[in-house]
């Protein structure tokens, strides 16, 4: 009896040690990621916030004295900041819907069953792995007003010569064309998989009921696709707000400031003009706006999913 009791009391600390050990083993899977991202992701964000409330000290090359909202007030008064936000918004409002609609339409085209379908789908991977900076440079050559092949071809149908990089509207169009060329294939690939996953019998039922092509699309296919369309939109949005490489290589924000998207503007202010405190304030504003809009889009896509 007493031996039994002794055994039990002995077992408890051992078991507890085992439980703690198990807990450590469990956490050891997450710890490297948490550690790395705290140092490389969380800390930089807090440091940005710190700089944004300080006067930048050039001698120590770090955050100097606390100045409160001064940098924010200065940035808010800077018309170039607002111009740049406007340019970014124009790009986003045109490019995102264009790419989503185009992506799903192309997916519908290339999903037609024939021998070369697999090959074509594989070929659509190629543009999406071209480095964005290469895409920008490459298209700069194609759109060149003087020697570019596109203007040469447009000449045949009586258009142009278009000054793609000299005219503000055309420069924005050029940026959107390049971005659309680079990113639509990404949406095509997601959409292809989504279209293939659609249940076939629903469409057969619609056909039997005598629904025409248009009403089949709008009342059968689109509702079924809404979750994927919404998710694609959110993913594409997360990529598009980071727009930097293509603009840098193709237009460098020009002509004037016509394509100077916010990331390029902040980059220039920080690393060319060495206005780190103001750039940090702008980065914080952009970070907050992005987070809020991302939250809204996620919420919206959930709601849409429930609706359909």
């Amino acid at each position: 009896m007493s031996a039994e009791l002794a055994k039990q009391t002995q077992a408890t600390p051992a078991r507890r040690r085992g439980r703690i050990g198990d807990l450590l083993v469990r956490w050891s899977f997450m710890v490297p990621a948490i550690l790395l991202l705290s140092v490389m992701l969380a800390y930089p964000i807090f440091y940005t916030i710190d700089i944004s409330f300080s006067r930048f000290d050039i001698s120590s090359f770090g955050a100097g004295e606390w100045v409160g909202w001064e940098n924010y007030i200065e940035v808010m008064d800077d018309y170039r900041f607002w111009e740049s936000l406007k340019v970014t918004m124009i790009y986003l409002v045109i490019a995102l819907p264009l790419q989503v609609v185009l992506g799903f339409s192309i997916a519908f085209l290339i999903n037609a069953e024939w021998a070369g379908r697999g090959l074509i789908r594989a070929l659509f991977i190629i543009p999406m792995v071209v480095a964005p900076v290469v895409a920008g440079g490459m298209w700069r050559m194609i759109l060149d007003p003087l020697w570019g092949i596109l203007n040469y071809w447009l000449g045949f149908i009586g258009i142009g010569p278009l000054d793609w990089f000299g005219d503000p509207t055309l420069a924005m169009a050029a940026v959107i064309i390049i971005d659309t060329w680079r990113w639509t294939p990404f949406i095509v690939l997601i959409a292809t998989a989504a279209l293939l996953a659609l249940p076939k019998d629903v469409f057969e039922a619609a056909k039997i009921d005598g629904a025409n092509w248009w009403s089949t699309l709008w009342s059968v296919a689109v509702p079924l696709l809404v979750p994927v369309i919404a998710a694609t939109f959110v993913i594409r949005w997360l990529g598009a707000v980071k727009m930097f490489d293509i603009v840098l290589a193709a237009t460098y924000g020009g002509p004037g400031k016509a394509t100077n998207v916010i990331n390029l503007f902040i980059y220039e202010e920080a690393f060319r003009s060495l206005r780190f405190a103001e750039s940090a304030a702008m980065a914080v504003i952009v970070l907050i706006v992005t987070m809020v809009l991302t939250g809204l889009f996620l919420y919206g896509s959930r709601k849409l999913e429930e609706l359909f």
């Binding site: 192309i106 920008g136 989504a194 980065a283």
Partner: protein, 286 residues
């Protein structure tokens, strides 16, 4: 009698629309591939064949530009740097990210889901908000222009990416696999290394390749955190494209561009099957 006729009429109509779809699909893919074709073509041209009206499709190909630019030390060194950084950050992220993804998929830890969500949210952080402090800290610690700095910087967007892709991959595996292994006396790590990793190898390898592609193409951090020794290929391309002093050097642009794109295209086509399913999973579940 009328039914078969109407059905044949219907069939011819669908086959016409089917043919239109096929043709449209081919036309669109040609449209999307042409710019790359044009870049590769231009890279084999001599200067006199590049600036012509009409643009030349037939010419005597030359490797002149390639030889000229490969001999220039900075392109070869940048290429080596890009390989080092892409491999390093890819390997680091696949190990750290896959472990975290496994934890989120399989191991119940209190609070881990919150970290998972935070890491997912970090995909919305604009890189420029990280580039400024990273540059300042790296400068203070004397870490600018080093491979390790870029490798760590790239892990900020690669780890979340790997984590969420591998999480959905691990979730798709049957739970019994590790359970039976652990009943047989395997530790958690034993089960992971002996059972899970071997069967996840194709998924891990494809995710690794895709992470390396993302690192290979990155521009902003490379621009900010390196200047000579550790500088990468995208920085060189940005330099050539933005060189307004010497005018458009299309030969250099297309040759270096082709060097950048070709290996990536080969790797991407190797993992295309997984890439497509991975993308679809990421879109619907991520």
């Amino acid at each position: 009698m009328s039914t078969p006729i109407s059905s044949t009429a219907h069939r011819t109509r669908t086959s016409t629309s089917h043919r239109l779809r096929v043709m449209g699909g081919i036309a669109v893919s040609i449209l999307f591939l042409f710019p790359i074709y044009w870049m590769v073509l231009t890279s084999f041209k001599q200067q006199v064949d590049i600036f012509t009206t009409p643009p030349k499709f037939l010419f005597i190909p030359t490797l002149e530009t390639y030889i000229e630019y490969m001999q220039r030390a900075d392109i070869t060194r940048r290429l080596v740097n890009t390989i080092i950084v892409a491999t390093g950050s890819g390997l680091l992220s696949i190990v750290v990210g896959a472990m975290a993804g496994y934890a989120l998929a399989r191991i119940r830890i209190r609070g881990a889901a919150t970290f998972g969500l935070l890491i997912l949210l970090s995909r919305g952080v604009p890189p420029i908000a990280l580039a400024v402090p990273m540059f300042l800290v790296a400068r203070k610690l004397g870490l600018t222009d080093k491979h390790i700095t870029l490798i760590l910087a790239y892990s900020t967007f690669l780890i979340p990416y790997v984590m969420w892709l591998m999480r959905s991959f691990f979730l798709s595996l049957p739970r019994e696999l590790e359970e039976s292994a652990m009943i047989d006396g395997c530790s958690r790590y034993g089960a992971l290394f002996k059972i899970i990793i071997p069967i996840s190898l194709p998924g891990l390898l494809s995710t690794l390749i895709f992470s390396m592609i993302l690192a290979w193409e990155e521009l902003l951090f490379a621009l900010v955190l390196t200047n000579r020794h550790a500088s990468t290929i995208p920085v060189a391309i940005a330099g050539i494209a933005g060189d307004t002093v010497n005018g458009a050097n299309w030969g250099a642009l297309t040759a270096v561009g082709t060097i950048t794109v070709v290996p990536v295209v080969i790797f991407a086509l190797l993992v295309q099957k997984w890439l497509i399913t991975g993308l679809a999973e990421g879109a619907t579940k991520g």
